[in-house]
């Protein structure tokens, strides 16, 4: 993939938004990859969790197109293992929030399988809707 880096991108509003919403310091991550190595849903992602941080560090808004931010289940395995104390699920949430606040919606209510909806525990519906719809 071809990427253009610039100082204005590194200090862009996007980077500030991610840091403000998440409360995390993006540059604290030194790209060791431990989060990606232990992520239980990495196989379903189009981009590894550590790559998502790297793109966010560099101010690449293309990261918002990645499926990874929606696949992260906030299981907090990476938080437990990060040697730099980066709360990656908070960064993922910030990226989701930026998309949701711009109008994205990840669940199409009309396409939820009825047999599943009948059976789903209430907390899955409440939690899922809060996480994936604005």
């Amino acid at each position: 993939m071809r990427a253009v880096l610039s100082l204005s991108k590194l200090r862009s509003q996007f980077v500030r938004d991610v840091e403000e919403i998440s409360g995390e310091d993006l540059l604290a991550c030194n790209q060791c990859g431990k989060c990606s190595a232990g992520c239980p849903v990495a196989a379903a992602m189009d981009m590894l969790p550590s790559q998502v941080i790297r793109m966010a560090q560099l101010g690449m808004t293309e990261v918002l197109q990645s499926r990874t931010i929606w696949i992260c289940a906030s299981c907090l395995t990476c938080v437990t293992r990060c040697p730099k104390g980066v709360d990656l699920p908070r960064l993922m949430e910030a990226l989701r929030e930026i998309s949701l606040r711009a109008g994205a919606s990840e669940i199409d209510l009309n396409r939820l399988p009825p047999d599943l909806v009948r059976e789903l525990p209430q907390l899955a519906i409440v939690g899922g809707f809060r996480k994936y719809i604005k």
Partner: protein, 291 residues
């Protein structure tokens, strides 16, 4: 001893068996779980966005309701426990946020209530030795795989229930009941959580791996403390138009195994309506029904 209790939405609807067995085993051990007189949903997610104080309102209302009832509030649902405990911690560390939410709700939550899980009351209050003395039907020979999942343990600095990578609380409980805890590598892996609403195939893949690993390590049953884990692990094992594979293993709540071991009647197990019926297995340890 009376303990204020927050059941939460799922234990009042789809996971009634967890509520039933939880109340029954607590009562058998001298703890009465007293449901909060007035409660609402905790919101089922802890907000990870720091600028989203709105999502803290629902759990703070629950904490306020709990504070009126006593010094602590017990939960069974791992997600309610997670959300309430993290909210309690967050507002303790950020009094300005607490004031802001109190201003909005017009309720004075003072931050003095302690959120506990029933597992904590068993370990720190009753103790495993005392629990094993109360067992009348030891689950000798039952190979049970403790499945902790995520939200019961993580993040450690806010929840602090047990080691987030190598927990033992369910293992110790199973030993106290006389069962044999089965170690397997997926014990603290994620079941997919809310992904089951958005990407059921992803969460089903995770769940099938967890169940397959437990089976491979010789487990006869999976044991959980979370109604969403229970659903995510059990649902993919349901009977479909293709029948069943014969490889299913039941996924039960720890309270259900306790109910059997404490000799409680079958209606207190709350084990009906699960996709993989655990009762044929559990009846082997329940004896002739004379307990």
């Amino acid at each position: 001893m009376k303990v204020p209790y927050y059941p939460g939405c799922t234990l009042s609807t789809k996971a009634k068996g967890y509520d039933r067995s939880g109340r029954a085993v607590a009562a058998a051990l001298g703890m009465e779980l007293v449901e909060l007189p007035d409660w609402q949903c905790c919101g089922a997610t802890f907000p990870l966005a720091t600028d989203n104080s709105m999502a803290l309102i629902a759990p703070t209302r629950v904490l306020y309701q709990a504070e009126q009832a006593g010094e602590q509030v017990a939960a069974l649902c791992a997600i309610c426990y997670h959300v309430l405990k993290r909210t309690q911690t967050a507002l303790e560390r950020d009094p300005a946020m607490r004031d802001r939410i109190n201003w909005f709700t017009e309720q004075e939550y003072r931050g003095r209530v302690r959120v506990v899980h029933l597992l904590e009351l068993l370990r720190d209050g009753l103790g495993w030795e005392e629990l094993s003395r109360r067992v009348v039907r030891p689950l000798t020979g039952l190979r049970a795989a403790p499945y902790y999942g995520c939200l019961l343990l993580r993040p450690y600095d806010e929840i602090g229930l047990d080691n987030p990578e190598a927990p033992t609380i369910l293992h110790d409980l199973l030993r106290a009941l006389g069962a044999e805890p089965v170690d397997f590598p997926y014990s603290t892996e994620c079941c997919g959580s809310y992904l089951t609403v958005k990407d059921p195939t992803v969460s089903e893949t995770l769940s099938r791996d967890i169940v397959a690993s437990a089976r491979k390590h010789g487990a006869q049953v999976l044991v959980t403390a979370c109604p969403l884990c229970q659903f995510n692990l059990d649902w993919p094992q349901r009977e479909t138009e293709f029948g069943r594979t014969g490889d299913e293993i039941p996924v039960v709540y720890f309270t259900q195994l306790m109910a059997v071991a404490l000799g409680l009647p079958e209606e207190d197990w709350g084990a009906e309506g699960m996709y993989t019926d655990p009762r044929p297995l559990l009846r082997q340890w329940a004896g002739g029904g004379d307990a």
